[in-house]
């Protein structure tokens, strides 16, 4: 019996296809549990989860918080955006302080790429990346894949279009990596100023024409246009963006007839997505939110450090 090494979920990069599918399979059981009258199991009783968010976030934090609570873990949320960092504490000191409280899992969001990796080297807890800078947001990609799986028979050859500000999107990055791993065909589209130069290296086909990119797509994922991009001259204005890359009913008709529409939220209605599409029958935006809790439960369950890596005793020792 040896102590199992603590494992971290720092990104999709580093996962095998089998790892990813195991998370998605496990999430299915939690998805069902979340539809029961009693949405709670005692699985992580006695474990402590700290959600430490250096960036403001409501939906991801709430999703992780519910996930931990439904598994009976003790969950603490720390909004560093409005606490010690403001008082000048360094990331290193914040980490040492948290680690001294012996959490079993730390869920971290940070504006700097690589912050979760820095944390993972300095704590005994399992670290889950809830979004780091322009790098990765692995649980978002996993919940998107889980949602796609509920509508499409297979990822093999599935045409998935991701549209918007790809350069500054950790959601896009994690999604491209995961969808490639699962065998889908990833397309990206957006204004030239917002497409990364290395997109082809990531394994995505680049389109500058939205209509062309949409042709025959099985999944259309639009990303949020962040207002701060307008300040940096990368985008002229939202009306211009909406005219060239806004997803409306007319454009959606170019995609496969059974295409689904996804968006990581929060929505900029009338900018990247029209009301009609966002609320239409092909939109799975709210299902993505539901998937999020189930996928995060699966991640907490699978990454929670166990006691010892003993042979699992058989049921009833029989």
């Amino acid at each position: 019996m040896t102590q199992r090494a603590v494992r971290h979920l720092l990104g999709i990069d580093g996962l095998t296809k089998a790892n990813a599918l195991s998370i998605l399979d496990t999430a299915r059981a939690f998805w069902e549990m979340n539809r029961r009258p009693v949405k709670k199991a005692p699985t992580l009783r006695g474990k402590t989860v700290i959600n430490v968010f250096f960036e403001n976030s409501t939906r991801t934090r709430t999703s992780f918080e519910l996930a931990g609570k439904r598994l009976s873990a003790d969950v603490v949320n720390i909004n560093v955006a409005q606490s010690s960092a403001k008082k000048g504490e360094t990331l290193r000191d914040t980490i040492s302080t948290l680690d001294a409280m012996s959490p079993d899992l730390i869920v971290i969001r940070h504006a700097s790429s690589g912050a979760p990796h820095y944390l993972a080297k300095r704590t005994n807890a399992a670290v889950i990346n809830a979004g780091d800078g322009l790098h990765e947001h692995p649980t978002q990609a996993l919940l998107d894949a889980f949602t796609i799986r509920q509508h499409k028979a297979s990822f093999e050859g599935l045409k998935v279009l991701i549209c918007g500000d790809i350069t500054h999107s950790r959601v896009a990055r994690s999604n491209i990596l995961l969808l490639n791993l699962l065998g889908a065909e990833v397309r990206i589209a957006g204004p030239r100023t917002l497409l990364p130069r290395d997109a082809e290296i990531l394994g995505a086909r680049v389109f500058h024409d939205f209509n062309e990119a949409l042709a025959g797509a099985d999944v259309v994922m639009t990303l949020r246009i962040q207002q701060e991009r307008l300040l940096t001259a990368l985008l002229p204005n939202t009306r211009e963006y909406s005219r060239t890359f806004g997803l409306d009913a007319r454009r959606l008709a170019l995609a496969a007839p059974d295409a689904i529409v996804m968006h990581p939220g929060p929505l900029n209605r009338g900018v990247e997505i029209s009301d009609q599409v966002a609320d239409g029958p092909q939109s799975v935006v709210l299902q993505q939110v539901e998937s999020g809790v189930a996928v995060r439960m699966a991640v907490l369950y699978l990454y929670a450090p166990g006691g010892v890596d003993a042979e699992l005793p058989g049921r009833d020792a029989s």
């Binding site: 399979d25 549990m33 709670k40 005692p42 699985t43 598994l71 990454y303 006691g307 049921r315 009833d316």
Partner: protein, 172 residues
Amino acid sequence: MRVLLDAASLKRGLTRVAGQIAERHHGSSGLVLVGIRRGGVPVAERLRACLERIEPGEVPMGTVDITLYRDDAASALPNPLIGASQIPVPLDGRHVLLVDDVVGTGRTVRAALDALLDYGRPRSVELMAVVDRGGRELPIQPDYCIQAVRVEAGERVDVMLEGSDLIAVVSR
């Protein structure tokens, strides 16, 4: 490996137990069978067929997975094989019959009870097992059982498929 119950004896046992259940419950209406995944599920399916032969009418059946409710869940992690629990009808006010293949320490049944109660508040819960191998660590006893057996520590008792029939075997 030695056979504890061959296909014919196990079948006779199921018929006998089904009779006891129907007698105690004055028929089978109001009953819900719940098989504990995975060993209890094939047993529950066959028991249900026996009950439906005794009295016409469908007996609802569900399954429960105990992975998340194990008392060693936190230390035995990771155990990624969580099966789906499926309870087709509301349990409130019904008589539930939990079905498993082998009852031993009683810890599986304890976990199954916790899982079950998260689905509702049954009027009563009873336990049926094919084999009672003894060695209880919790105050839990089967209400119906086909065969009780004393086995030595280190011996396993399994209920398994032989063709489409169930048999019970003891092995080391």
